[in-house]
């Protein structure tokens, strides 16, 4: 079938099997390999992307469902080489080690801050509870999200 959707702000269309996973659609058809596969069953969150503003596991979304939706992947977060504050703070706080979970982590955190610009620590933990990380122990990731929320709030005030 032919599907049309907005991918990282640009309208795109492609012909695909309706049952292709969004994860494969992104990685194979659009060469967006920042979205990772860690488990294939929606448990690890490495394949997290935003679909209409909500964080979803792209391994559990089929191509047909993507029609007419808006998809944001890690490649659409930075503006060219200018990092989004979340990305910058992930680096500053040491929230990246092997980096395999990082794209998913950033997108789950991004979805949280869009919905709740002033999250508590518990709310941050809830938002990333579906993203597994084996390297960092999460602490520096949580710090990065906190710091970003603070900075974005100051920006709004200014």
């Amino acid at each position: 079938m032919e599907i049309k959707f907005i991918l990282n702000g640009k309208e795109v269309s492609t012909i695909t099997e309706p049952s292709l996973r969004l994860l494969d659609l992104l990685r194979e058809k659009f060469d967006l390999t920042g979205t990772k596969e860690g488990c294939g069953v929606g448990e690890c969150g490495a394949c997290t992307v935003l679909m209409n503003g909500k964080a979803v596991n792209s391994c559990l979304v089929l191509a047909a469902q993507v029609n007419d939706s808006e998809i944001l992947t890690i490649e659409g977060i930075a503006k060219g080489d200018e990092l989004h504050p979340l990305q910058k703070n992930f680096l500053l706080n040491g929230a990246v080690q092997c980096g395999f979970c990082s794209p998913g982590m950033v997108l789950s955190s991004y979805a949280l801050l869009e919905e709740n610009p002033n999250p508590t620590e518990e709310e941050i933990k809830d938002a990333i509870a579906g993203n597994l990380c084996r390297c960092t122990g999460y602490k520096q990731i949580i710090d990065a999200v906190k710091q970003t929320a603070k900075e974005l709030k100051m920006e709004v005030k200014a």
């Binding site: 294939g40 990092l83 040491g94 092997c98 980096g99 597994l132 390297c135 960092t136 602490k139």
Partner: protein, 792 residues
């Protein structure tokens, strides 16, 4: 350390961070090549079986199958291994564990291949299985590898003093048995590798490979090629923790065989279930301890018997269990020690290297035991450790006198105890235990909140554990590393290390060491990808040796370069011999003239004067010694010490252990990258917590039950409330400015500290890991012992 560092000790963002956080970093599965084929593995649902025949007739003419690869296609070694070559690349005669691969099919459409592999007919005869390691050495035990004549993989004895005399002189003797479970590395990136045929029959391998030099050796042996015809390049590694060694060597070899046969690039990538099924695990241990001590708690004798289940293949078992024999008593000075450590073959999934490497198991046992001794003597857990702990000049169980390094055991203990107010909390919790016992063990709990307020079900506990850990490989093997640095005409510096990044941030650590020595900012140095064809083998990135060995080599290389540059500066700027030159932040200073040049200007002058600006730095570990019959010797050239304190809340209604706070005190020598060091602590503590309360790979007749993250549970962001890292930096003479090891010590203490904390909460001691709900609530495993039940 009195040295005034400009870079070392600071928090620096890792050099690969930008690529990783933007999704541009290339992991193995992100590589694509023209004409690339995929491979899918053929396995059978059997733990132990003789293969009678494999019938490929239904698929061999299928256009989706480019080739069927079997052991017939292997030009060289058909069996490989880290230490013993006992693992067939393709098991076409016998399967000895369920992860075994019989053959593989190669083609363009991976999904179609997965459908087709099910159509291959394998005729096999099931054989009896051996899955209980305690039966592996019985006279009539079936042999996993009959050609070896025994199921014994290795045996490490240790004899110091006379334990029987020691027991006779003791006031009290305790005998305890502990067990630890099998666990999975659970790197978030599953295995992936691509083999690309080159000219002249050579092959290039790109993959999620922990140790490129080991992979090269194995691929070369399987292909029967000289080393120089095999080029191994490490892709960004999505976590390893010791787990992407054997398995990745195996996958590299299989992909390379297919690539050479078909003359096309071949990729193998595993889904999570396949990864857990085939990859090796952490050894489960059965640990028997007998300890004799005096009235005041001084340990006179310790007799230890450790049995490790090595599973179907040898892998790293001899080295893993060797670390156990060295460290089995824990960091205590004991006059009489008798230790026997064995690893055995079974039909279970094979076990090998994993972060900690033979230390978390004995630490759980020996630190549980120390707390029991404290109770018998009537002192607090910290006090019993002070009375027995290793100090400068102490003699370890292996007969090594601890000298020439900071023996920081008591300092890390004291720091942790005072920071957490340990003794006071421990005593207070202990008083509360009586009430807890009533709830947990005598009668069922009614969960109606009207009758029992949930808060009243929660008991608080605090527990600690200490360890000493030998740095790097010790008497396991040759221990050296190399680093190449050259300065380009524009002042940019290129670095190449023989040690591979594993995702932990080693590259940045090495860059910082060189940058400090050369007085440049880290952004001036470019770290080239690890490539076996471009630098000499520096041994594997294992044993927490990346920093102690790698940074030392990087510093040495930088020192050589700096000497060259100083000569240029002296000539070019006409400085006299008594003037002192320093390099800092891309500038060059003279004591007499102040700032005299930019780093780049000096480089330019060096090029104009044809001065060589490249150097290879080397670092070789000091000598160690080992007598394998007595287990005596200077096992490691230096040690690190750690103490972790766990504060927990135990729900006596459900058995849930919640981790409120873990305080981790470690002495890594000199911290190079503070951000990276903190990351090692947070990550290691979290893995240790998973080992303590959550994780377990269980098997039924060798078959793994937990094949994905829906069943194999690792800690999430919600499982630990707070982690507090504290560093005790000292003056170490080895490594770069005394930078030692940190990665593994952070993991090895958690389970033991948590178990002691749960005991402090409930007044009941646990001897089996993990402390999951049923262990804490019921004291036994709740799981079907046999899947062949009922209508099945």
């Amino acid at each position: 350390m009195s040295k005034d560092f400009s870079i070392v000790g600071k928090s620096v963002i890792r050099e690969d961070g930008f690529e990783k956080i933007t999704g541009r970093a290339k992991f193995a599965d992100d590589y694509k090549f023209d004409g690339m084929l995929f491979s899918v593995m053929l396995r059978i649902p059997a733990t132990h079986a003789k293969i009678n025949s494999i019938d490929f007739s239904e698929i061999q003419n299928n256009p989706s199958v480019a080739s069927i690869i079997t052991s017939q296609d292997i030009p060289g070694a058909k069996k490989i291994g880290m230490i013993k070559n006992d693992q067939p690349v393709f098991c076409d005669e016998k399967v000895v564990t369920p992860g075994d691969v019989l053959a593989m099919i190669v083609g363009e459409d991976e999904t179609e291949l997965r459908n087709l592999v099910a159509k291959i007919k394998v005729d096999y005869t099931l054989l009896p299985t051996l899955t209980d390691p305690t039966k592996a050495l019985e006279d009539n035990a079936l042999l996993i590898h009959p050609e070896l004549g025994s199921n014994l993989i290795c045996y490490h004895p240790l004899r110091k003093g006379d334990v029987e005399k020691g027991f006779a002189e003791s006031d009290k003797i305790l005998e305890r048995v502990y067990t630890t479970q099998t666990i999975e590395h659970a790197y978030i990136e599953p295995e992936a590798v691509i083999a690309i045929p080159l000219e002249d029959g050579a092959v290039k391998v790109i993959g999620s490979i922990q140790n490129p030099f080991t992979a090269r050796r194995i691929v070369a042996s399987v292909l029967n090629l000289p080393n120089e015809k095999v080029q191994v390049v490490q892709a960004q590694l999505g976590g390893s923790f010791g787990g992407k060694d054997d398995t990745m060597c195996m996958l590299s070899a299989r992909a390379a065989v297919a690539a050479i046969k078909l003359n096309r690039p071949v990729k193998i990538r595993y889904a999570r279930d396949e990864s857990i099924l085939e990859s090796y695990k952490r050894h489960p241990y059965i640990l028997k301890y007998k300890v004799g001590f005096s009235k005041i708690g001084k340990i006179n004798a310790m007799k230890i018997d450790l049995l490790a289940d090595g599973g179907a293949y040898c892998s790293m078992s001899p080295f893993v269990t060797w670390r156990s024999v060295v460290q089995a008593t824990g960091p205590y000075e004991i006059e009489n020690v008798q230790t026997d450590v064995r690893a055995v073959y079974t039909n279970n999934p094979y076990t090998g290297a994993m972060r900690g490497f033979g230390s978390p198991q004995p630490i759980f046992a020996q630190e549980s035991l120390m707390d029991e001794i404290a109770l018998h003597v009537g002192v607090t857990p910290d006090e019993i450790r002070r009375r027995n702990g290793l100090k400068l000049g102490s003699v370890t169980a292996t007969g090594q006198t601890l000298k020439e390094h900071d023996v920081n055991l008591i300092p890390v203990l004291d720091k942790a105890v005072s920071f957490t107010n340990f003794a006071q909390k421990w005593k207070a919790n202990k008083k509360e235990q009586v009430a807890a016992k009533e709830y947990v063990f005598d009668k069922p709990i009614f969960r109606d909140e009207q009758f029992i307020a949930p808060d009243s079900l929660i008991r608080k506990g605090i527990g600690l554990a200490v360890s000493f850990r030998g740095c790097s490989l010790g008497a396991e093997g040759l221990d050296q590393s190399s680093c190449y640095i050259s300065v380009q005409p524009d002042g940019k510096i290129v670095m190449l290390s023989g040690l591979a990044e594993n995702g932990q941030g080693l590259r940045m650590t090495l860059l910082m060491a060189a940058a400090e020595e050369l007085g440049v900012t880290t952004d001036k140095i470019i770290y080239l990808e690890t490539d076996t064809s471009k630098i000499e083998d520096s041994g594997p990135t294992v044993a927490s040796r990346g920093t102690i060995m790698g940074a030392a080599a990087a510093k040495n290389a930088a020192e050589l370069l700096r000497a060259q540059l100083e000569k240029v500066v002296r000539d070019e700027y006409k400085l006299d011999e008594t003037d002192f030159i320093s390099f800092r932040e891309n500038l060059v200073f003279s004591r007499k003239k102040g700032m005299i040049a930019k780093f780049d200007d000096v480089v330019k002058a060096a090029y104009e004067n044809k001065v060589e600006l490249s150097a290879i730095g080397r670092y070789k570990s000091p000598d160690v010694s080992w007598d394998e019959h007595t287990g005596q010797g200077d096992a490691y050239f230096t040690y690190v010490y750690g103490c972790q304190v766990a504060e927990v809340s135990v729900n006596t209604g459900t058995g849930e252990v919640y981790l409120n706070k873990i305080t981790a005190v470690h002495d890594p020598g000199t911290v190079i990258n503070r951000l990276g060091a903190l990351g090692q602590v947070y990550g290691g503590v979290t893995q240790g917590a998973g080992y303590g309360i959550l994780e377990e790979v269980t098997t039924n007749d060798g078959m793994i039950r937990e094949l994905n993250f829906d069943q194999y549970l690792i800690p999430t962001a919600k499982d630990i409330d707070e982690i507090k890292p504290l560093f005790l930096e000292g003056n170490e003479k080895y490594g770069a400015w005394g930078a030692k090891s940190l990665g593994e010590p952070t993991l090895e203490l958690g389970a033991a500290a948590i178990a002691n904390a749960v005991c402090n909460a409930l007044g009941k001691r646990f001897y089996n890991l993990p402390l999951n709900l049923e262990e804490v609530l019921l004291g036994r495993k709740l799981r079907p012992q046999d899947i062949k039940r009922g209508s099945l």
